[in-house]
């Protein structure tokens, strides 16, 4: 760390203390002189010692000025009022002359010493306070992630400052407040504006409460370098955050690409394996095998089509170009067409829609896609031998079209993430679907003004509910 610069001139005592010193002198000397004149005691020694006391007191309180003036005045008073011949500045006895000269020398010497010691202890206290301020600021710099605000608060507490702020240049050439303590304006203003680092870069602006001494300025200089460090630390921190965000986005993009490529290539692989089997000349297949290859090609082409459909739906939703055709929708119809769009192994679906289920106000095509995706998801996660149930719950103004499965279900924490695109829980790569199905279902239901809710099936599993408003028939206006 940089050395703390010495002040360029000795520290002066505050004016109040100097005045007190003069006061001690101005009252003490006449009072003592009059007491000594009136008393009969004819002891110069006692008188001079008492004078010395007054001089030292004045010097200790008021510094060098009162001390030196006091020494001269006391010597003069003693000579004039006490040393015979009284009321004359002449001195009869040699011993008295010696006593007065020695008194003067002692008084001056002691006054000077008292003054210097007072000054040194003042400087020491000052240095200690400055060292403490610097140490505190260094500790803040090291300990805090963003030390800038704390440093500014410490600056205002250590120095007589009303407010302090660090400003940085914005891209458009204006200013922005990086951190502040006290009331500051949107642009650097105040008694003192100094650069932190290169010109044209960030600045420190402070508003003084009193006058800054040269020592205060020196301390401010040291603390300014701490502020510059704190600002750099903040820039590095924000850069690191930005890089981390970019890396995260990059990793997500890679994961999405991998998932999409996996899901596109898996059905393609089945199709290609079957087709190349049929094309090969090495083996003449029997009818059953040929039928099996054909069935594979058919089913996997459908699977590919559903995936491509979901990818297109997702991009339509994200581009906000979903066209709504809202009208009365019969739940039975939607369920029937949704099931028809699913592969034939959707036999494990049980439909339980009440005959008197109300019409809902929705887009039939979007509802069908949403429902088909929910059922497909439920089938994928249903263990063999368990059914997927589709039912409807009349809730007065709304109807909940529910898809109930008895699969492994999802944890409460994962429930919120279900509708995020490209989410897939459990194993990462082999479940069918990149996790677009539920996101598309949610997007379509939300576009129609409905809600898609998930809850845990009693006994385990996931229950998805498409909640849609009931379609109210206008009352027939017959005459």
């Amino acid at each position: 760390m940089r050395g703390y610069p010495r002040p360029e001139r000795p520290l002066a005592l505050p004016r109040s203390r100097q005045a007190a010193g003069w006061l001690v002198l101005a009252t003490g000397l006449p009072v003592l002189t009059s007491v000594l004149v009136r008393s009969d005691a004819d002891s110069l020694a006692v008188g001079l010692l008492l004078y010395l006391g007054i001089v030292l007191a004045a010097g200790a309180v008021g510094g060098l000025g009162p001390g030196l003036v006091g020494a001269l005045a006391a010597a003069g008073s003693a000579n004039y009022f006490i040393v015979p011949p009284v009321h004359q500045l002449t001195i009869d006895k040699t011993t008295d002359l010696v006593a007065l000269v020695v008194f003067l020398a002692v008084a001056i010497t002691v006054s000077t010493l008292v003054h210097r010691s007072a000054r040194l202890s003042g400087e020491a206290a000052r240095s200690r306070a400055e060292a403490e301020a610097l140490a505190g600021s260094t500790a803040t710099l090291v300990a805090e992630i963003d030390p800038l605000p704390s440093l500014l608060r410490q600056l205002c507490a250590t120095l007589p400052l009303e407010a302090a702020a660090v400003y940085t240049r914005t891209a458009s050439g204006g200013w922005s407040v990086a951190a502040s303590a006290g009331e500051v304006g949107p642009e650097p203003s105040g008694a003192e504006i100094t650069a932190l680092g290169a010109t044209g870069g960030p600045v420190l602006a402070v508003r003084e409460r009193g006058t800054l001494t040269s020592a205060d300025r020196a301390l401010l200089g040291s603390l300014r370098s701490h502020l510059a460090l704190a600002l750099t630390a903040r820039e590095i921190q924000s850069e690191a955050t930005r890089v981390a965000a970019l890396e995260q986005a990059d990793a997500l993009r890679t994961a999405i690409l991998q998932a999409v490529s996996h899901d596109l290539r898996t059905p393609l692989a089945s199709i290609k394996a079957a087709v190349t089997s049929l094309l090969g000349h090495e083996i003449s297949w029997d009818t059953a095998s040929v039928a099996q290859f054909h069935a594979t090609i058919d089913a996997e082409a459908d699977r590919l089509d559903r995936l491509v459909g979901n990818l297109l739906d997702m991009s339509r939703l994200q581009a906000g170009v979903v066209h709504l055709n809202l009208g009365p929708v019969v739940l039975d119809d939607v369920v029937g067409s949704a099931l028809a769009s699913l592969p034939s192994d959707a036999a494990a679906v049980v439909v339980d829609i009440p005959a008197d289920a109300p019409l809902v106000r929705a887009d039939a095509a979007l509802t069908e896609r949403a429902l088909a995706n929910l059922v497909a998801n439920a089938l994928v996660h249903s263990p063999p031998g368990t059914d997927v149930l589709i039912d409807a719950r009349d809730r007065g103004d709304t109807v909940a079209l529910r898809v109930v499965d008895h699969g492994p279900g999802v944890t409460a924490a994962d429930m919120d993430r279900l509708i995020e695109p490209f989410q897939r829980f459990g194993d990462t790569s082999t479940r069918p679907g990149v996790g677009l199905g539920l996101a598309v279902a949610h997007g379509f239901v939300a576009a129609m003004g409905g809600t898609l809710a998930f809850e845990t099936t009693p006994g385990g599993g996931l229950t998805a509910s498409i909640v849609l408003p009931v379609h109210r028939m206008r009352t027939l206006e017959t005459a």
């Binding site: 393609l268 079957a274 083996i283």
Partner: protein
């Protein structure tokens, strides 16, 4: 009877594979998870394994490692992952070949046969005869169209790493470790030696047929002209 263990969780893929392999006279065991695969490998001692990398209960890479701990049958990876890192990782772990999905059934069967042949050949044959050149790896002689061709010791080492197991996909690191054991890997030098080898042996060095590069992964020595 040659028994093939097919490990994949896509039922339609395993179904097609089983039909094809059985029609060609192999016995087929199917496993859909890593656990089933290891159990079947232990119980049935298959002669070769066709393995998908993305399994519901774990990574196929771990299956390769676990299989290699107990037996040395050929392992053929069949995966949608076409990244070089996945390929190299699987090959370094001990897989013999890597086929990416979607795949042609004939190619897969050809690769499987090549792997089985390599493995069943009790002793590695030092002599390799192609329709363009003949090499003897032990005698260190090479002739192209009857004329003797001189190869440097390093070129012989590179050729040895590849041609001892014709058809096998050898990663770049495996070649480097064979040619310069313990040395810092210098891929540029390896590429230079391969270029020289191709100039000396290949009928058309710009379109190599016998010393084939699998970009980013490694090299394969192909004896016949049939695409592998």
């Amino acid at each position: 009877m040659t028994r093939i263990l097919v490990v994949d969780d896509e039922a339609r893929i395993t179904q097609s594979l089983a039909l094809n392999l059985e029609a060609r006279g192999y016995e087929v065991t199917i496993a859909a998870t890593a656990r089933d695969a290891l159990a079947a490998a232990t119980a049935e001692h298959p002669d070769a394994v066709i393995l998908d990398l993305g399994l519901p209960d774990g990574s196929g890479h771990d299956v390769v490692v676990a299989l290699r701990e107990r037996c040395d049958m050929p392992i053929l990876i069949l995966s949608v992952r076409d990244g070089e890192r996945d390929k190299v990782k699987a090959l370094e772990a001990g897989a013999d070949d890597y086929v990416t999905k979607p795949f042609g059934m004939n190619e897969l069967v050809a690769r499987l046969r090549a792997a089985l042949r390599r493995h069943q050949r009790a002793e590695e044959s030092p002599t390799i005869v192609t329709d363009h050149f003949t090499i003897d790896l032990d005698e260190r002689t090479a002739t192209v169209g009857g004329a003797v061709v001189r190869l440097t010791p390093t070129e012989w080492a590179v050729l040895d790493a590849l041609a001892r197991q014709p058809g096998r996909l050898v990663t770049q690191d495996q070649v480097l470790a064979h040619v310069w054991p313990g040395a810092r890997h210098d891929t540029a030098a390896l590429r230079v030696h391969l270029t020289h080898l191709r100039r000396k042996l290949e009928p058309d060095p710009s379109r190599p047929r016998h010393i084939v590069t699998d970009t980013g992964v490694g090299y394969r020595f192909v004896v016949g002209t049939a695409a592998l």
